[in-house]
């Protein structure tokens, strides 16, 4: 099962900002982390990631700095800013609403999940 493109795009911003809350990172590592988190189900491309990072940088949600690694290679590290954290909180609130609503209407064996406390996710 692959997640559709629209859904990938919609979840892209909170995904990247969320990963950056774990610590500063760079493009390739972010992409690997997404792969790891989704078990390879989220089909991210470079064409999605880098323009998104640049947009977040333009909006001030992340800051970038160049660091040199392994000789002449330069690597662009991204760090989340306060405004990025605020944006992430806002996105999270919206996602929670969506997820909660979906859980309400989807019957079946997933329903009992609601009974569990959400503490583990906080």
């Amino acid at each position: 099962m692959k997640v559709t493109k629209d859904l990938v795009a919609a979840s892209a911003t909170p995904m990247v900002l969320g990963i950056l809350t774990e610590g500063d990172s760079y493009g390739y590592a972010i992409l690997r982390r997404i792969n790891e988190l989704s078990g390879g189900e989220l089909d991210w491309t470079e064409g999605l990631l880098y323009p998104l990072l640049h947009r977040l940088e333009r909006l001030g949600h992340v800051e970038a700095s160049w660091q040199s690694v392994a000789g002449e290679r330069r690597r662009k590290y991204y760090r989340i800013t306060d405004s990025g954290l605020a944006e992430l909180a806002e996105q999270r609130r919206q996602w929670d609403t969506v997820v909660d609503a979906l859980k309400e209407i989807w019957p079946g064996d997933r329903r009992p999940l609601l009974a569990f406390p959400l503490g583990g996710h906080a």
Binding site: T45, H54, R73
Partner: protein, 457 residues
């Protein structure tokens, strides 16, 4: 990271990949750095997983997807990059280039101010634009063009010898414009006023090629420069027109007439300064407009061909002679100049190695119909001269026709052979470049020799 796994051998491939990436206008150098780091990370991981270096490279590039897709995504975020910025925001990235462009800017402003000032200097000696047409008309080119030449020579770091030659030629132009006492009504005055700027433009050309005088490619660059300069100059003139309209409108709204200021200062100084500014724009932004002149050529070659053919057909049917009055002569000369311009600017933009295409045939039709018209006009002029004797105007028109005819005949021949795939395109290009000095020599002849030849008529 240090094991001998052949990753060193990948360097040329990385370099080539980078080259492709950097050619994309949507992708900046910093993007290329970032993507290269990504690619290398991907290769490292694949090599660690057991692939050979070259295999890993192929897989990593494949994973990144096509550059087209990547560029499209970048373009969505950075659409402004597709619009190259004009003037002063030139993002070059390197400090050395920045200082250079700033020094260019300073030199340009100095030369433009020089041109604007020099056109007002004669006023100190009591000469006015309206009263002394006989002085201003032939000297017009001498106020502005030396400054453009100076800017170009400065930019090319021309040698002392060449600067001496440039100065001598401009001095010669000044002599030609002022040594002969021509009256307001004389034909020679009009001829000098038209031909001296052309002669001086070729002196500007000498300044333009001053870094490599002998290279034929540089002469073609000067042809391109001329076309782009003209386009920029017209654009600046249009902007100037808007400025003048607002100057009039706003000042008249408060009951003050700005007419004196506009006609005595704004128009002459602006026109003189714009000559240098336009030259600087072409120099500084060679790539921005992606060369408008060849595009215009493409648009208008078919239209002009149609008009010329229609004229020939109508002329054949109507059976009327060409009325070779003065205006008509000038009109036909200009027509041939336009045809030559169309030819020249499509040559300047053509890929020399491309095989002949439909457009070349169209051009052949254009040149042949222009030739036919030229022959008709030439016959008329010769008839006139044998009947009524010659005047400077007729002699000049005749000489120009002969020069253009010679050019177009040989161009037609070369085009015919090009369409027949017997001559490479380069022959046509070489012919046009080689012919450029002929125009310069003719313009100088008209300016220097015609007035005494015709008793300053």
């Amino acid at each position: 990271m240090t094991e001998p796994d052949g990753r060193e051998e990948l360097e040329p491939q990385f370099a080539q990949w980078r080259h492709y990436v950097e050619r994309r206008p949507e992708l900046r150098r910093s993007d290329a750095d970032e993507l290269e780091d990504h690619l290398r990370g991907s290769v490292d991981e694949l090599v660690a997983a057991g692939l050979h270096a070259d295999e890993a490279f192929l897989v990593a590039v494949k994973r990144m997807g096509s550059l087209d897709d990547l560029s499209r995504e970048f373009a969505r975020e950075h659409s402004e990059r597709l619009w190259k910025q004009l003037v002063l925001t030139g993002e070059s990235g390197s400090p050395a280039a920045d200082t250079r462009s700033r020094r260019d800017l300073v030199a340009m402003v100095a030369c433009a101010v020089g041109a604007a000032v020099s056109i007002k200097v004669p006023e100190l000696f009591g000469l006015g634009f309206e009263e002394d047409v006989a002085f201003y008309a032939p000297n017009l080119g001498l106020f502005a063009l030396p400054w453009l030449a100076a800017f170009l020579a400065w930019r090319r770091r021309a040698g002392r010898g060449l600067i001496g030659v440039l100065c001598a030629l401009f001095a010669l132009g000044a002599v030609a414009a002022n040594a002969y006492q021509l009256t307001d009504e004389s034909q020679s005055l009009a001829l000098t006023s038209i031909h001296l700027p052309i002669a001086l433009w070729f002196v500007v050309g000498l300044a333009y090629v001053s870094d490599d005088v002998r290279a034929p490619r540089r002469r073609m660059d000067f042809v391109r420069f001329t076309g782009e300069w003209f386009v920029y100059y017209v654009l600046i003139a249009l902007g100037g027109g808007v400025l003048i309209a607002f100057t009039f409108g706003t000042f008249e709204a408060i009951g003050i007439s700005p007419e004196g200021f506009v006609t005595q200062w704004l128009i002459p100084c602006g026109a003189a300064a714009a000559v240098t500014v336009a030259g600087w724009l072409v120099e500084y932004k060679q790539g921005v407009v992606e060369n408008i002149a060849p595009v215009l050529t493409r648009l208008f070659t078919p239209l002009f061909t149609a008009v010329l053919l229609a004229f020939l057909v109508t002329f054949g049917l109507a059976d009327a002679g060409i009325d070779v009055e003065r205006e008509a002569l000038i009109l036909f000369d200009l027509l041939l100049v336009v045809v030559l311009g169309l030819l020249l600017y499509s040559i300047s933009a053509r890929d020399p190695l491309a095989p002949p295409v439909l457009f070349d045939k169209l051009q052949l039709a254009l040149v042949v119909s222009a030739l036919a018209i030229d022959v008709l006009v030439l016959l008329e002029i010769i008839g006139r001269i044998t009947e009524y004797g010659t005047t400077p105007n007729k002699a000049a028109a005749l000489g120009e026709n002969a020069i253009l005819l010679a050019n177009l005949v040989w161009s037609a021949w070369l085009l015919l052979r090009l369409v027949g795939r017997r001559t490479p395109f380069a022959a046509l290009e070489r012919w046009q470049i080689g012919y450029l000095p002929v125009y310069a020599v003719w313009a100088w002849i008209v300016v220097l020799i015609f007035p005494p030849l015709f008793d300053f008529l």
